[in-house]
Symmetry: D5
Subunit: 96 residues, 10 copies
Amino acid sequence: MLFHVRMDVHLPHDLDPDVRADTVAREKAYSQRLQRAGKWPHLWRIAGEYSNISVFDVDSADELHDLLSALPLFPHMTIKVTPLATHPSKVTDALV
Amino acid sequence: MLFHVRMDVHLPHDLDPDVRADTVAREKAYSQRLQRAGKWPHLWRIAGEYSNISVFDVDSADELHDLLSALPLFPHMTIKVTPLATHPSKVTDALV
Amino acid sequence: MLFHVRMDVHLPHDLDPDVRADTVAREKAYSQRLQRAGKWPHLWRIAGEYSNISVFDVDSADELHDLLSALPLFPHMTIKVTPLATHPSKVTDALV
Amino acid sequence: MLFHVRMDVHLPHDLDPDVRADTVAREKAYSQRLQRAGKWPHLWRIAGEYSNISVFDVDSADELHDLLSALPLFPHMTIKVTPLATHPSKVTDALV
Amino acid sequence: MLFHVRMDVHLPHDLDPDVRADTVAREKAYSQRLQRAGKWPHLWRIAGEYSNISVFDVDSADELHDLLSALPLFPHMTIKVTPLATHPSKVTDALV
Amino acid sequence: MLFHVRMDVHLPHDLDPDVRADTVAREKAYSQRLQRAGKWPHLWRIAGEYSNISVFDVDSADELHDLLSALPLFPHMTIKVTPLATHPSKVTDALV
Amino acid sequence: MLFHVRMDVHLPHDLDPDVRADTVAREKAYSQRLQRAGKWPHLWRIAGEYSNISVFDVDSADELHDLLSALPLFPHMTIKVTPLATHPSKVTDALV
Amino acid sequence: MLFHVRMDVHLPHDLDPDVRADTVAREKAYSQRLQRAGKWPHLWRIAGEYSNISVFDVDSADELHDLLSALPLFPHMTIKVTPLATHPSKVTDALV
Amino acid sequence: MLFHVRMDVHLPHDLDPDVRADTVAREKAYSQRLQRAGKWPHLWRIAGEYSNISVFDVDSADELHDLLSALPLFPHMTIKVTPLATHPSKVTDALV
Amino acid sequence: MLFHVRMDVHLPHDLDPDVRADTVAREKAYSQRLQRAGKWPHLWRIAGEYSNISVFDVDSADELHDLLSALPLFPHMTIKVTPLATHPSKVTDALV
């Protein structure tokens, strides 16, 4: 099941630089693990913002919350989830 | 170049039923033409709303505006465009 | 899977009274069918507003959208869906 | 009487980790006491957010405020209360 | 139990003048009946707006919704209810 | 002349506990002095929030500002004032 | 006593042109009467909008509401009133 | 040329008291200099808020920005500027 | 003097098609006259919306309001004006 | 391709003054480099605010994000990007 997720990152300006670098590095590794596992099929940067728009493919809202709340940047992000359904005009035979 | 587009449809309740049916049918055909042409790679329904979240793949903002303003439902929609950039954590070797 | 749904009804003041009465009656019958089927376990009126707060129990966002978009009042409602997950502090042994 | 309550938690990033852990543990114990007492019949996590949607069953707004303002996390939460009334379409004979 | 209620009136400009005059007259009579019954202890006009701020004294949210939804102007109003609790600094021995 | 006032308190989490206790105690004493003087005829807690809704009875906006800006919690509050007028439907012969 | 008032005019596009012209003419005459009476000391157009920012000088909120609700355009305006107090830095000896 | 300016002051609670007192004193002196020079013809306190509504009379937006950004409290204020035009109903023969 | 102007067009869906076509044609001619006169140096379409972002170069806010309120589409637009000042980092020797 | 960019700067009040001066100086130099390179053709100050409105001319949203996220003030800014298209009424023969 697909969920549209927007994440906005707000790092405190007085965060310890080492903690910051470590958190950002762990965020990247964690994100790539989820992408490779097929859980996070789309990930885009919003131009000009420290934000992303993503699509997650999970079995349930419980699984989605477990994945999102385990993000190393979770304490510093505002997250908004929108559940997606199949669109009746979606073509299924388009080349990708 | 990718653009994230959210469209919310607000049909006037006193729209002539034939006009309405015709407009919706032309919207579907037009949308599917763009999808097959690779211009509209993602199209999802927002659960519970007469709205969609889409991603367009176009050469420029001019092309994007031409495509969107030609939507048969354009006069009855609120549209919000967000330009997307490549995310630095995006994996390129994931199976799709 | 549980979804929190808020529905706000905005009936046009010039809607034909018979159409209105018929739509509201069909809405009630439809709602009660879904409740009896276990799809709509919670339904509350927001005090002072022509609005409700509901919880739906469905298999997927697709099923949720199908149920909601078939509501007779759907063209006259603003609907906002919020996906719910299990809360880690939820007790499971409380008497109900 | 039922009240719909949304709570959003905003923990300061420089909160002492021991204070934080202790506060969160006391919050959980307190919440479960109220659930077992029948005062807090519904508690759901909002997927992707450090927030919950709850329903409280209390005798009065005074009792509700006493219960909410005693939450260990109260100083770090934004809370929004909505009073609920019986919905005229609510079925009372549905299996739960 | 006390509830704070704000009502904003939006009369359609093409409402039949007789319907309008009759509705406003019935609203006034209904409001005064509730005031005399002690259900509507405070009623103020917001300066410059076709709006009021009121306090209702009722036994439950169900009673509140019944009273409000029976207002002749209900279909043309936006209503927002806020539940009130006793303030710990409230003096009870002040002259009124 | 009556003014509707909403006050939302936001105490900094790192405020010195003694300063905090002293400020809150002075706020209570000050508030009760104004209530006994007939300047602050209504004071209610908003259920679930560190906020109040009040009505002040003063001679002018100047007097109102002097009273409000002297609140010990004034530096930590968001205040919104709404001027009230007599409502034409207000009954004057109701028992209170 | 001074009140800051913002008025935004929203004339229905299908208003009868004669009714419209007559209403606007009566609005102007009424406004100028109040200005000459010293009740409406400041009146500015917001550049680019069918809106004005005004300051009224009245004895009470009741008088303010009577004056504003008698505006011929009142049914087509959104009005927001802000009570003004004397600023402690205001010089009283400036040339005007 | 006239500009409507709203300023909301947000002083950090941990600002050094001497810095604070000095800044506020310089703000007052600076404001009074501009008022005496005819640049700042109107200055009102918003009742209940640490905010003011002002009207500036300057030659250009450049001059306005220079004056505002030199306010000692500028780093702690949210400022919103609205350009004012002559209102067609404004009387020019009223006594002031 | 430069003003940033955003215009959002909302044409009523039941506007007579001939009136509509005539208004849009007059809007275009009027806009081009102002552009050729140097009053309207920048005009861009917001991608995906029936809206534009413009910069006007005028002598005063009065002139700006006269130009904008004479737009044939003025009754159907929401307009927001922002006064612009010279930016201190602006280079003046860049090739254009 | 043109993008409209609004940047609002929020410098923490406890930022080290040397860090602050250095960051602002680097911001200015960086901005002027991009202007001279033709990437940042328009840059205006919003009168009264520590904000600017800019237009960027870049090859893609990726390039735009690279340029913006490298701004020395980027961690302290809120940025909002709007993609611009050619307006059909834009004259191309106006003198500039």
